[in-house]
Symmetry: C2
Subunit: 139 residues, 2 copies
DNA sequence: TCCTACAATGGACATAGTCCAAGTCAAGTG
DNA sequence: CACTTGACTTGGACTATGTCCATTGTAGGA
């Protein structure tokens, strides 16, 4: 069973069939589904679940900090359940495959204060782009 | 006059009033307009320019590597003409203001080869998020 | 078991972006 | 300078993604 589900329950989330299904769909490493993909998989388990509910639930999970929104491509936002292990993303420019990666170093520390324009900087997102072995082989 | 325009002309681009206007709109530092904003400003200079042309032109500039697409928020893509000076972005989580920043260090070098999953990594995008002084003051 | 506040529904609406067939025009040629 | 041609522009329809809201349903406490 999903750690995610346990954590959500622990926060006093009202547990419904719909939320359970969404949480189950979003489980594992290297998981980066779009809202529509989440909806499609949720429908497979609970046919009457609506798109709006999936959007609402994903949004709530993001607000609670249990899921991260990633927009690696120009298309839909993707949802990454691996919120509790800081990581960044490596995206194939050709097929769109996404992998979680853990670079050395701390990019936050690399931003000198005279480059902060007075901002209070709290967060950094890094997206590496390249070609995956699969796509490199087939071209 | 815009360097951007000169470079485009040098690449054998057919110069039209529409393209000139789009290139003029996209000039300067810390410029990060959405396609619609570009269109709005272009219309001010050339009332009959169409949305499709703005999208086409922006897309071509991106393909030529003269302009960078940035998707810092969940909403529209933004276009950054500063493609020839490598830089990253600092975004205010509250008002959406974007600044160009130049961190120390090279994030590309920070990705160990055993974290590359066989990808040929060519590019990295870094987005810092925080609160700008303006928003910090008014809350 | 009953109540009630919170959640789900689904359909209309909003926003961003793409596509296409037809018309227009930049720029090379003679 | 006029001609020609293929690249460029147009505008409107279309697609994709996401949001809103009034109504209906239900989890979980009393």
């Amino acid at each position: 069973m999903s750690d995610l589900l346990e954590r959500l329950r622990g926060r006093g989330w009202r547990m419904t069939a719909q939320r359970r299904v969404v949480a189950e769909v979003l489980d594992g490493d290297h998981v980066h589904l779009t809202a529509d993909e989440v909806h499609a998989r949720a429908v497979a388990k609970l046919p009457e679940i609506s798109r709006a509910t999936v959007y609402n639930t994903l949004g709530e999970m993001v607000t609670l900090g249990e899921v991260i929104e990633v927009s690696t491509d120009r298309r839909a936002k993707r949802y990454d359940p691996n919120a509790h292990r800081p990581h960044h993303h490596l995206v194939c420019a050709s097929c769109g495959t996404i992998r979680d990666v853990h670079p050395a170093g701390d990019p936050l520390a690399d931003l000198p204060s005279d480059e902060r324009f007075g901002f209070t900087v709290s967060n950094v997102e890094v997206t590496y782009r390249g070609i995956c072995p699969n796509c490199a082989a087939t071209t």
